[in-house]
Amino acid sequence: MRFAPTEQQEQFASNIASILEKECSAEALQLAGEEPSGRIGGLWETLSETGLMGIAIPEEFGGLGMGSSDLVFILEELGRSACSEPVAEHAAVAAPLITRWAQNETAREILEESAAGSRKLTVGSPIDERVVSVESSDLILLSKENELHAVPTKEIEHTPMTSIDPRYKTSAIEWSPTPKTLISKEPEAIEDMTNRGVLSAAAQAVGVAQKLLEMTVSYVSERKQFGKPVGTNQAVKHHCSDMAIAIEFARPLVQVASWAIDNERSPTENFTVSGEVSAAKTLASEAVELACRSALQCHGAIGYTVEHDLQIWLKRGWILASTWGDALFHRRRLGKILGLTD
C-alpha cells in the first residue's frame, strides 16, 4: 500500500503542466475562443511529442505502456489548464479501449498511428450521445446496444452543437454500425468505456476546480475594498476553505478509481470498479460546481464578463460537472451498486 504518485508519474505530469502553461495559456485560450475552430494551433502536436497520446498504448504498438493511474495526474493538469484538445478522449478513453477490446490486427493498425498522435481518436459517451471534437478527429469510438464500434469520422454525419464554451466542440451524430466497425460485443466493454470516460471527466473536473480556487485566492488577496483585501473577510475565507475541502476529498477518490480501472477490481472490500468511478465523479462534480459558484461570488462582477479569464474555467467547469453524468446520475448509479435501489 502506497497511495501517492511515483516519481515518474509526478515527472510526466509536471512536464505536461509546463507545456500547457506555455502553449495553453489563458491568453491563448481567449484567442482560441474567437476562432471558429476553437483550437490552439500546434498544441496537439507539441503534446504528441511527449508521447502522451500513446501513454496507455502498449509498447509493442509504439506507446508507453502505462495505465489510468499514470494518466490521472495528467488529466487533472489538462483540466487545470482548460486544455482545448481532446487529449482525454484520445489517450485516456479511446486508445485504452481499443487496446483492451479490439482484435490484434485491428488494434495494431489503429494504435500505431494513435500512439504518435497522427491518427486522432475521440469517443461518444454512452450516457449522453454527444461526441467531442468530431471535426478534428479521424476515428470515433461509439456504442450501440452493447456493441463497441470504431467508426471513421468520414463515415458519420454530424451536427455541431453550440457549446457554452467555444473551445469545447460537441456534435450530435448519426451513424450505422457495420461488421467492419465492430470492436467488441462484450457488455463489459461498454461498462469499461463508460468508466474511462467518467473518470477522465472527473479528473479534469478536479483540475478545473483547483484552478478556480487558485484564481480566487489570488484575486481576493489583491483586490481591495473598504481599504483592505477582500480576502480578509471571514466569509470570503470560508468560501475558499470550502472549495479546498471539496477538492481535497474528491481528488483521492479520482486516483482510487484510476487504480481500480487499471486493476479491473476495486481496492475497497465489497465494492466495484464502477462504484469507485461513480463515487469519484459524484464528488468531483460537486467540487467543481461549488468551485464555479464560489469563485464567481468571490470575484464579484468582474468574474461575470467574457474579458476576465475566470469565465474560461467557469464554462469548462459547468460542462465537466454534467458531462458523462452529473452528480445525481452517479448517485443513482451508486444507489444500485450499493443495493439501495433496483
Binding site: 449522453d128 450521445e129 454527444r130 452543437m161 453550440t162 457549446s163 457554452i164 460537441t170 481591495k224 475594498q225 473598504f226 473577510n233 466569509a235 470570503v236 459558484r293 464567481l296 461570488q297 464579484g300 462582477a301 461575470y304 464578463t305 467574457v306 474579458e307 469565465q311 467557469l314 464554462k315 459547468w318 460542462i319 454534467s322 458531462t323 452529473d326 445525481l328 446520475f329 443513482r332
Partner: protein, 386 residues
Amino acid sequence: MDLDPTREQKDFRTEVRNWLKGNIPKETLPSMDTQEGFELHRAWEKKLFENGWSVVTWPEKYGGRDLGILEWLIFEEEYYHSGAPGRVNTNGINLLAPALFDFGSDEQKNRFLQSMASGEEIWAQGWSEPDAGSDLASIKTKAKKDGEWFVINGQKTWCSRGAWADWIFCIVRTDPDSERHQGLSYLLVPADSEGLERRPVNRLDGEPAFAEIFFDDCHVHSSNLLGREGEGWSVAMSTASNERGLNLRAPGRFTAVAERLVNLHEATEPKPDPSLTEEVVNSWVRAHAYRWQAQRTATRILEGEPLNSEPSIMKVFWSELDVELHATALRILRDRSDLITEFLNPSDETEWLMGYLFALAGPIYAGTNEIQRNIIAERVLGLPRK
C-alpha cells in the same frame, strides 16, 4: 389580518391580464443586450406607456395611474405571469426615478420622468468604478465646476444597459479634497456628450450587457445636477435603499418562474428523479413565501412603518431563490439530456440557462449577499461590529 383584495383590485387584475393577453408580442424579442433587441424593447415600452401600463404607481401627469403598492404588486404578478418582454428601462424607472421624485426640481421632473416612462429615453446606471464595487464610497471620477458646467474626468464600469442607453446617471466627486461619502454629487449625463466614450463589456454569454464609460473633459450642464452639490451620497442612498428593497425584484418575477418550473416538471417524460421533484416543491414554496413576505412588507409601507430588516433580508432571499429556481430547472433538463451544449439555440433549455447566468449576478450586485448578511446581523440583530 385581511388577505382578500378589494373589488377594485380584482377588476384591476382582470384588466391587466386581459390587456397583456391581447398585446404581448407573439414572438420572443431578441435579447435587450443586442442593438436590435434594445430598440424592439424600447418600442414595447412605448406601447406599455401609451396604454398606461408603463409606471402604474406614478402620478398621472408623468404617465402613471397614481396607483398604490398593492396594485403594483398585482400588475407585476400579471406582467411576469403573461411572459411579457423584460423591461429595458428598469435602471431609470426603479433606480433613478425614486431619487428624481425625492430630490429633483420641478423642471427636472418634467424634463425626465415622462420621457423615461415612454421609453423615449433609456437610462444606464453609472455608479461603479474599477476600484469602487461593493465599496461605493471610494469613487474617484471627478467633476470640476466650470461656470455653468461640470467637467467630468474618470471612468465608470458595470454600467448595465450602458451600450445603447440615451442617458447615464452618475455619482462623481465634485470636491477633490473630499473622502469617502463626502463631496460627491449626482449628475445626469447625456450618453452622446462630447468627451464621453463607451466600451461595451460582454457578459459570460457574450452579450454586451454592460459598458465601461470613459470621461475625458466631458461637459455636463449644471441643470443636470440632481440634488445639491456634495449631496450625491444621500441622493444615491435614496436610490440604493430602493434598489435593495421591494421595487427591484417584484415577487411576480419569481412566482412566474416557479410556475414555469412546475410546467417544465410536468412536461418532462419520463418523470424526473424524485429528488428533483422535491427541489421543485422547495423552490416553489420559497417563491410563495417571497410573495407573502412582500405582501406583508407592502402593508407595513402603507401604514408608514419603517422598514428595518426587510430590504437586506429580501435581497438575500430573492437572489438565492432565483439561482435555486434556475439551477433546479437545469438539473431537470440535464437529467433528460445534456443541456449545457444548447446554449445559443432559442429553445426552452436556453431560456433557463440564460436565466441561470443572469441569476448568478443576483448575489453579487446591489451589495453582495455577504455584505447584506453583515447588515442584517449588525443593523437588525444588533451584533457588535468590532
